[in-house]
Symmetry: C2
Subunit: 180 residues, 2 copies
DNA sequence: GTTTGCGTTTGAGCGCGCTCGAAGCCGTAG
DNA sequence: CTACGGCTTCGAGCGCGCTCAAACGCAAAC
């Protein structure tokens, strides 16, 4: 799958309704300025998580963070980049356990690259499955909204009789979870 | 958004790689035969969750289930349909709390339809956001796989220099979480 | 000089969604 | 007759990912 293809699809997906890309533009400066060092509050703000969580990640062994003369954390650029990565992985549903393993591989050296790639590929596939699962659920929700009749089973009933929906699709809706 | 449009998009999404739709076809008979009554094991099998979980849902007030002469649960078609709905909502991330509220609205009568629709619309939007979020994470993962350099920050660095990627897209990748 | 504010550590607690264990009932198979 | 499998109830336990409380340090502001 070509990169350009990826981006095209991404932008199409984003194009549905504006807020994300608008906000993205608004935050355009963020990564351009990756400061040499940041405080915990700054990193928390950047990544949209709490200082508590950042300390928790450190305790969990996901990052090492230096201290200043007051014992306060000083996040260097590498730590911030790692946290950006970790945050994205967390957001896409990778468990802490796996991240801990991944980081242990990173720290173990270059010879672990193949295993790291294996992990990324597996997580990519998991994420793809999850997106398809959510897409099917989304369609079911939209269908239920469109045909709302009050009963929790109405959507299925509607699918049985309406618009000559194709059977495969209908079944896929009901069994979206079978993709997981 | 027209129904046909929805289905078209759905099938496109599914078309990427086969397993789901194939499995869907394989299970095609499932909903066609919605039996008059089912045992807990049958329902568990149908919905791909455990009998434990089904009992838990009942305890949580999400379904009422009759008993036979032995005290065993007998799921009628309505209960099964409700559970299909509930399972899809759970799968798409709706919290138990919200489902309990939704079901209380269903049980309260037709005058709660507007509020139910509000809930569905909100959940639809949440699901859409989640899909966009996951899509961005997915692109980041794919990018990292494609440009793998071993460092956790490599993907970002690559984005800064590679293929003349447009800045908005690049920033969106880093800030996918800002959509949540 | 005290207050305010932001940081530190440690260990405990929490919300969620299951998941399981124990003890018991029932119907069928060997 | 007894053993087994599958169901029942009830309450407890668990894994995950935070989230917080307590007690303290330091530094700039008033």
């Amino acid at each position: 799958m070509a990169t350009d293809d990826l981006m095209t699809r991404a932008l199409e997906t984003l194009g549905d309704d504006g807020p994300l890309s608008v906000e993205a533009i608004h935050r355009l400066t963020d990564l351009a300025e990756v400061p040499e060092s940041m405080t915990i509050a700054e990193v928390a703000d950047l990544l949209d998580l709490s200082p508590h969580t950042l300390r928790y990640y450190e305790r969990a062994g996901l990052v090492e963070v230096a201290r200043d003369s007051n014992g306060h954390r000083v996040y260097d650029a590498e730590a911030v980049r790692r946290l950006v990565f970790l945050t994205r992985m967390r957001l896409s549903g990778m468990p802490m356990r796996d991240l801990q393993h991944y980081i242990s591989l990173v720290d173990a050296g270059e010879h672990t690259v193949p295993e790291r790639l294996d992990m990324l590929v597996e997580h990519r596939d998991t994420t793809r499955r999850r997106i398809r699962e959510l897409t099917l659920s989304l369609m079911a929700i939209e269908y239920k909204i469109a045909t709302y009749g009050g009963s929790t089973g109405q959507d299925v009933a509607a699918l049985d009789t309406a618009t000559g929906a194709d059977r495969t699709f209908r079944t896929a809706l009901v069994h979206a979870r079978s993709a997981s």
